[in-house]
């Protein structure tokens, strides 16, 4: 590594630390100033405050059941998709994995419409809310099971199964499952389950809207966040935030470690074969795929239809009419709510702002890690873990960190600096950029670069003529992923920007939906905004799918 490279690497690490770590440290410092440093008391405070009582149990139990249901629904889909050949398979895969990139608040709107009194009308008691939440988490995470298991299923050499068929332990389907598939698939299923657990554990938008009384640690934290970090006023809020953050940090850290361990086991090389050779036709598979497509698409369609369906109450009777009034209301805006166009503009500015910072920062950090790896330096491992730290912070923790951290640095900046959400989005997206770019750098064949160097090409030309074309897929995936994550981000933005004029699309959906329901346009207008956000996300997702490297099918 020459001096220039060293300079930029150190600068990138410095900027990353300044953006990511310092606000979080300041926020914790501010909270500790109010609550004192006693992690046991922080955790105890969760059960000593009615507002957060039972949130620990609820968070763990719902995450556990969500994971189980996700595997139960997702695995048969992954199996059918991986083991058999299907017309328009890439399109089918895109449709079935689409929910993962749909912002959670849109999923919440979709499920509310389906289960509400003018849908299935099953939202009548606590068990229904519970199962609606569990199913919505399964809907959201089904893509993880498909993404992790389908590549293994679709490329495993069929010779294994054929040989096993001849042995006593492989005669029946269940014995083959036990002796072949379970050992091979366990690391993939476990890794996907681990991620599903993490996403369900830190679920916010779905819990906020779908469950009525129960709260996760994440939603509890967001609920009390406005009064956290204030000395002498509602100090219990600071205890609750610290307790919830501490538990979440430990659980997410443990999950990260487990994921890393499982990923290593997934890398065990099995003899592979072409999909064309592995897969054959099986019409019965449609009995799995059709319901799965229906399950995946229903909330999306209900959001779109819900934007045109307006309630009409007259003389104590209720009817619905099809109308564009909701769209008009969303585009019109009011003094309380900005128009859709303004929220869209804010969202786009934030997502491009995030991209301008996160992509180069993530790229330089990934390059630095890669450079250090080449020198076999232990520093590479340390830096890699360091860049992954935000994975161990939930969105609400990041939002609160940015908010309280900035208040500590400069109180007026917290409310005057309209690009504050960008800071939160950068913290969230940089680790993803690093995770996407790093494997591409590792697989880059250095001989191309060296040959070009021998031929006398400058650094500049080599980068643009050789490296960029070879890495453009990964850079584009990172670009689109950063844009999509920033556009749909809700948890951190809810804390940072909900009280500002710089409202984003997900925040506008939340605000519109939070209006008193007596206004018949409350639901259609929020669904109209959700439809716009969903369409943008879907377009970005299709772009990613087009450029995704087939080797990276297990990656997000």
């Amino acid at each position: 590594m020459n001096n220039t490279q060293k300079f930029f690497s150190i600068l990138a690490v410095f900027i990353y630390s300044a953006i990511t770590i310092i606000p979080i440290v300041f926020a914790i410092d501010r909270l500790i100033l109010v609550s004192g440093f006693n992690p046991i008391l922080w955790i105890q405070s969760l059960d000593q405050n009615y507002v957060s009582q039972n949130s620990i149990t609820f968070t763990f139990v719902q995450a556990f059941f969500s994971t189980i249901l996700t595997v139960l629904i997702g695995f048969p889909v992954a199996w059918v998709l991986g083991r058999y050949s299907w017309p328009f398979k890439a399109f089918l895969r895109s449709i079935l994995t689409l929910p993962f990139v749909i912002p959670a608040i849109i999923a919440a709107m979709g499920f509310l419409t389906i289960t509400g009194p003018y849908g299935l009308d099953v939202r009548t008691d606590e068990s229904t809310w519970w199962w609606t939440l569990i199913f919505s988490h399964a809907w959201f995470n089904i893509a993880l099971i498909i993404r992790f298991c389908e590549p293994v299923l679709s490329t495993l050499n069929p010779n294994f199964e054929e040989q096993l068929l001849l042995l006593p332990n492989g005669i029946t389907f269940f014995s083959r499952l036990k002796n072949l598939w379970i050992p091979i698939l366990t690391p993939s299923i476990a890794a996907a389950s681990c991620m599903t657990f993490v996403f369900s554990f830190t679920s916010f938008a779905l819990v906020k809207w779908i469950t009525v009384r129960d709260k996760t640690l994440e939603s509890t934290m967001a609920e009390v966040s406005s009064s956290a970090g204030i000395q002498g006023y509602m100090e219990s809020s600071s205890d609750i935030v610290l307790g919830a953050s501490f538990i979440q940090f430990l659980v997410l850290l443990a999950s990260l470690w487990l994921m890393s361990f499982l990923q290593q086991r997934r890398q065990t090389k099995w003899q592979q074969a072409s999909e064309l050779f592995v897969q054959n036709k099986n019409a019965k598979g449609w009995f799995v795929l059709v319901p799965a497509i229906f399950f995946v698409q229903l909330p999306i369609i209900s959001v779109i239809l819900g934007s045109f369906r307006v309630r009409d109450v007259s003389e104590n009777s209720i009817s619905f009419k099809w109308s564009t009034e909701g769209w008009y209301e969303a585009f019109q805006g009011s003094y309380s709510f900005p128009p859709l166009s303004e929220a869209l503009f804010n969202s786009l500015i934030y997502s491009f702002g995030t991209l301008i910072i996160a992509l180069p920062l993530g790229y330089i950090l990934a390059s630095t890690i890669h450079q250090l790896e080449e020198n076999n330096s232990n520093l590479s491992r340390i830096l890699e873990i360091y860049t992954m730290l935000p994975f161990a912070l939930s969105a609400a923790m990041i939002g609160l960190g940015v908010m309280l951290g900035i208040i500590k640095l400069n109180p007026s900046a917290a409310y005057d600096f309209r690009f504050l959400p960008v800071l939160a989005h950068v913290i969230i997206t940089v680790p993803f950029v690093v995770r996407i770019i790093l494997p591409a750098l590792r697989s880059f064949d250095l001989s191309y670069d060296e040959n070009a160097k021998v031929l006398g090409m400058s650094n500049f030309s080599r980068f643009f003529k050789i490296k960029l074309p070879l890495m453009k897929g990964s850079i584009l995936v990172a670009t689109v992923f950063t844009l999509a994550m920033s556009l749909g981000e809700f948890g951190a933005s809810f804390i940072v920007a909900r009280n500002s004029e710089w409202i984003t699309l997900p925040l506008l959906i939340d605000s519109l939906r939070g209006k008193p329901m007596k206004d018949p346009l409350t639901v259609p207008s929020s669904n109209a905004v959700a439809t716009v956000l969903m369409l943008i996300t879907m377009i970005l997702f299709l772009i990613v799918e087009k450029f995704r490297n087939t080797k990276d099918r297990g990656m997000f």
Binding site: T4, F8, Y233, M234, S367, D449
Partner: protein, 369 residues
């Protein structure tokens, strides 16, 4: 591997971005009025436009969830000066705001506001009569019940708060939490006075514990209690509706509002039990460090006859002006009761003891009988 050029480009982006953002961030001008509020219906588009046109000021809104969030926001931003006017602090939060020195005095003539020059059943200046806060709407918070179910046959009409702890009411009462809701806070204060009036202060804790053990539905806000759980209101026409509670906390004039919207028909009624109603007044206050001159102009506009007399229709609350009442059309006034013996808790006591009372409430809710 070499990457200096690309890195330079990217670092340039990193350095340029903050400067770019700095260019776009806006400074607050003298011609601007920043209002901190929650979703107060009275602040309609036409009302704000009229104000802007007549004064030449540009109104900007910072919207938070509720009255409590207004107070939290003001404390977090004390001394920042980014807000000129807060609209929506009520008399359960106002004493804390005054105690923490967040508000600025304004010289508003409050003679037209009820409670100073005459005896009124609803004296708007009763809870607070000073220059730090000007009332703009009011109403009594009390229990509402679904009269189509709570009809004396299917359910007996409660005559005491203890009735609600009986098995008949298990899981059928929705109460907003005093920690996160201002109507919830108002009702909690009323229960304090109710048990004080019965000469048994311990019963405050015991009653709330008994309510929790009787599966009372404690919600984070009024909307969730009234729209999602209550069977007697307009919630049943909405998508999030569950309808598992026949009694909830709302305003004593909420049945009147239901009737007004439904062409003189409502199945909701207010429960007039002594000392269970709390008189809530909402205020507009200039904020220390903000532009109090601009704030003053808006407060004057807000309590002008032209705007404030429309409160029952625009904001579904009582006007604070002397001589104003709810409209008689569609049974609005007929279905709105004024409680015969409401709870009385002074602002001084609220300011001094609110945190302690909330702590007592919390203790009661986390313990089991």
């Amino acid at each position: 591997m070499n990457f200096p050029h690309f890195s330079k480009l990217m670092v340039a982006c990193l350095i340029l971005f903050p400067s770019f953002t700095g260019c776009i961030s806006e400074d607050k001008s003298d011609n601007e009025l920043v209002i901190l509020t929650y979703d107060v219906n009275a602040l309609s588009d036409s009302m704000i436009s009229k104000f802007e046109n007549s004064t030449g000021l540009e109104v900007k809104m910072i919207k938070v969830e509720d009255s409590g969030s207004i107070l939290s926001y003001l404390i977090q931003n004390k001394g920042v000066g980014n807000v000129d006017l807060a609209i929506g602090l009520d008399n359960t939060y106002l004493p804390t705001a005054i105690e923490l020195d967040l508000l600025e005095e304004v010289s508003i003539v409050q003679d037209s506001i009820s409670g100073r020059n005459s005896s009124s059943q609803m004296p708007a200046l009763g809870p607070y009569d000073g220059n730090l806060a000007t009332p703009f709407d009011m109403g009594f918070i009390c229990l509402n019940y679904d009269s189509s179910i709570v009809d004396g046959l299917n359910f007996t009409i409660p005559t005491s708060l203890w009735n609600l702890t009986e098995p008949e009411w298990k899981g059928k009462v929705a109460l907003p939490s005093p920690i996160t809701s201002s109507p919830g806070r108002g009702f909690m204060l009323a229960t304090l006075d109710y048990f004080d009036w019965q000469n048994n202060d311990d019963d405050f804790s015991n009653w709330w514990t008994a309510m929790k053990d009787n599966d009372a539905i404690i919600t984070s806000g009024w909307s969730e209690a009234y729209e999602t759980h209550y069977t007697g209101g307009y919630g049943e026409y909405t998508e999030g509706y569950i309808g598992d509670a026949h009694i909830t906390v709302s305003y004593c004039h909420s049945p009147g509002v239901e009737s007004w919207y439904n062409g003189n028909w409502t199945k909701s009624a207010s429960l007039d039990i002594d000392k269970t109603a709390f008189f809530q007044v909402e205020y507009a206050s200039a904020i220390k460090g903000g532009n109090s001159e601009n704030a003053e102009k808006f407060i004057e506009y807000l309590i002008s006859s032209e705007v404030n007399s429309q409160m029952p229709v625009e904001n579904l609350m009582y006007s604070v002006l002397e001589g104003q009442n709810l409209p008689e059309e569609n049974g609005y006034r007929f279905n709105s009761i004024i409680p015969s013996n409401p709870a009385v808790i002074s602002n001084v006591d609220i300011g001094k003891n609110m945190e302690i009372w909330l702590e007592e409430w919390n203790e009661a809710m986390i313990k089991s009988e």
